[in-house]
Symmetry: C2
Subunit: 448 residues, 2 copies
């Protein structure tokens, strides 16, 4: 067992942990980052396409209001390029197929109610204080999103649109999640529009070299003596004046520790003394979402020639949402499809060939029979990843924000908490991860 | 590191683990039970009153239909005695105080709706297959109990009664839990009436010598070489032909392992290979309830002389439910009060003296000023117990039974699951723990 003493120990080498490490290093503190996996990046991961090109099988997009993430990319000289949006989208809803530029051909009443519902959620969100969502007194945490929809959404079109939104933005079903959680996340992105728009919103742009490059560069700057891979933290013991953070073959002694893994995984570390009940019970109540990210790789982005932008939504296929996920120069052509929530759960249980078949059948229904024959097919079931156990992030069922929210960021002695689940901007996004890491670093500097 | 080889390793020396160990031993198998805590009994725990008397600070009651538990007690020569129910009950609801024998003095409409609501839940429960609750197709898992109540319960009295029922039987609020979970538990007890009745129901009787005596006797029979205390299991590795179960200073090699701790705690063990996504995500979605069990101990059960049976309910006091918890001979006199759900969470955060004051004030409101002055006061916050992390048991939020229920009992290779959360009779009760342990033992015997 190797023992190292530093000022601050950090658990997790994703964007939160590495951002915290960078900030603390710049402030003159010594740090060690312990990472369970054999790589850095957490829920971001590049897949090598060969010829110096990559595509992401984890988090990937960046939007114009995600300042912490863009600033980080700027410091690391990682450039962005716009998400491909030229051409028409496809909607296969309620048995029909609609190809459109702005608005799908659907019942006007349904479309109107969809818009009104989004506006209504926006208004509910505006009164949330994202620093203290648990102080909300409107009873929003007693309802699942499904219950609220049953009471307030009446057309089939609007209900379907909203279900697709919840599935694809939150990786859970409306029945899994509290209304307060949804509107808290909306408010953390400063409204529904930034959250759901591609151009100008959450999916505005991508990173040249792939989103994992941010973590790779941060880790490179810190160096391999500081970022220790293959070291799942098993126990964290704290006394009056220090903490001891133990992995299988290394112990780090520090004055503070920043735990950046999601609450559900943070609860799997053994703490001495044990965590307070409120913090421990929080970790029992914040499950990770269910996502399988599927990439079909073609010689050419053939859909572009057919006038499609690669974006599609559907309610009855395996894949409910797609994007053109090609590299900046459009070669190879890549279609990204998400299996989310219920479909991720059920299709995780079938053979890989059957799942692939269902995914490619969906893509062909959107973009024609050529989609059936990719030159390569890549998928990533984040629920099966031991050090993520779900994606994109945690969702809070009813009662959790109001019952336990105040334990989300509150330090426990010398333990500090970061990770996108603990962010106050863009909860669940890479932006939130970076912001949470910087906030935790500032908290530690305040106290040491 | 000591290494022991046996046929079956068992994790947890509560009623589930010890029942499984007994059954497997009787079938001629060698077993080892690894217990994290320094004692056996899990969520049962006797408190020593001196002079050979005890009172329970954990699970304690037994009902006439709890056959597995009664059979176990019979085999162990542990006798029962009836819960004290002679005299009048107190209800402090909606600002009033009512002393009654059968029905509190409340709005007749409210009382009528309370009865109708219980009957309605009973009817919903009757169609649940407790072996496969996730096959229910009525959408009950999309609703929280709170949402269902908002739609179906209209009088304030009935709503209050139902809230008290959920809090005191499930240790959570109606907003925390899926309607499907509630009716599944009701059906596992074969109806609402057994679940909520004292006489003839779940609180019918108690064990002479305290409920922990069952575990103590089982552990004594098995012997200290078989039941190993102070050994939190950290990793379980399985290969094609065996499992290795590791605690700090002992490794058990076995052909099968039975994990009897609640899913939320089972998820904190490191598995190699990692658990399948569905089982892992289940462990993220089954939080433990919140209970502080409070005992005020008096020289005499003074309330009996005043004609009270020691049972009370309230909606606006700290304590929402009480029982006479005296030993068989009535000496000392003991009042039991539960801080449940929201009150358990909020009062866990104040000083012990303030909490005690709130509890005794409640008892005095029910039974008169003498209740303010116990000779002793004992409390147990189960959420703060490292090896329980909540009581009475896990509750399932919306979407969990239907999304993950089939992973609750399904073995993973050589891993088997027990514990009251996995029972099919009396889920959450001691009866369920015993039944689940016997079921897991039978499963292992079938496969080995």
């Amino acid at each position: 067992m190797k023992t190292i003493s530093v000022d601050i120990a950090i658990v997790g080498a994703g964007l939160a942990g590495l951002s915290a490490a960078e900030a603390l290093s710049r402030a003159g503190r010594t740090v060690i980052v312990l990472e369970a996996d054999e790589r850095v990046g957490g829920r971001t991961l590049n897949y090598d396409l060969g010829h110096g090109k990559v595509v992401e099988v984890g988090g990937q997009w960046v939007g114009p209001t995600q300042r912490h993430l863009l600033d980080l990319a700027g410091r690391l000289n990682v450039d962005t390029y716009p998400t491909y949006t030229t051409g028409k989208s496809v909607a296969m809803l309620d048995g029909g197929r609609s190809v459109y530029r702005h608005v799908p051909r659907l019942s006007p009443f349904g479309l109107m109610e969809s818009g009104l519902t989004l506006a209504r959620l926006d208004r509910l969100a505006r009164r949330i204080d994202v620093e203290y969502p648990w102080t909300d007194r409107r009873g929003l945490d007693e309802l699942t999103m499904a219950s609220w929809m049953r009471a307030h959404v009446h057309t089939r079109v609007a209900r379907t649109m909203l279900e697709l939104l919840i599935e694809n933005v939150f990786a859970c079903t409306p029945a899994d999640v509290s209304l307060l959680h949804i509107v808290t996340c909306v408010q953390s992105a400063r409204g529904m529009s930034p959250l759901i728009r591609t151009r100008g919103g959450a999916e505005d742009a991508r990173f040249i070299g792939g989103s994992q490059l941010l973590s790779l560069r941060l880790a490179e700057q810190l160096g391999p003596e500081i970022v220790i891979l293959n070291s799942p933290v098993r126990t964290i013991a704290q006394s009056a004046d220090r903490v001891r953070v133990r992995a299988e073959s290394i112990e780090v002694r520090a004055s503070h520790v920043v735990v950046t893994v999601p609450p559900a995984l943070a609860g799997r570390i053994a703490y001495d003394p044990p965590l307070p009940a409120s913090r421990d019970q929080l970790t029992q109540r914040t499950p990770m979402g269910s996502i399988i990210k599927c990439l079909a790789i073609y010689d050419e982005p053939f859909w572009r020639n057919d006038g499609y932008n690669g974006q599609a939504v559907a309610d009855r296929l395996a894949i409910h949402a797609t994007f053109d996920n090609s590299p900046p120069d459009g070669h190879p052509g890549i279609l990204l499809g998400f299996l989310a929530a219920g479909n991720a759960r059920s299709l995780a249980r079938v053979e890989e060939s059957e799942r692939r078949h269902a995914v490619l059948r969906s893509l062909a229904a959107f973009f024609g029979p050529r989609a059936q024959h990719p030159r390569d097919y890549v998928e990533m079931d984040w629920s099966a990843q031991e050090w993520a156990r779900g994606c994109y992030s945690a969702h809070f069922p009813p009662g959790v924000w109001t019952g336990y929210g105040d334990a989300l960021r509150a330090p426990v002695g010398r333990l500090h908490w970061a990770g996108t689940e603990s962010a106050t901007t863009w909860i669940g996004y890479m932006e939130g991860a970076v912001q949470s890491g910087l906030r935790a670093a500032a908290d530690v500097l305040d106290r040491s």
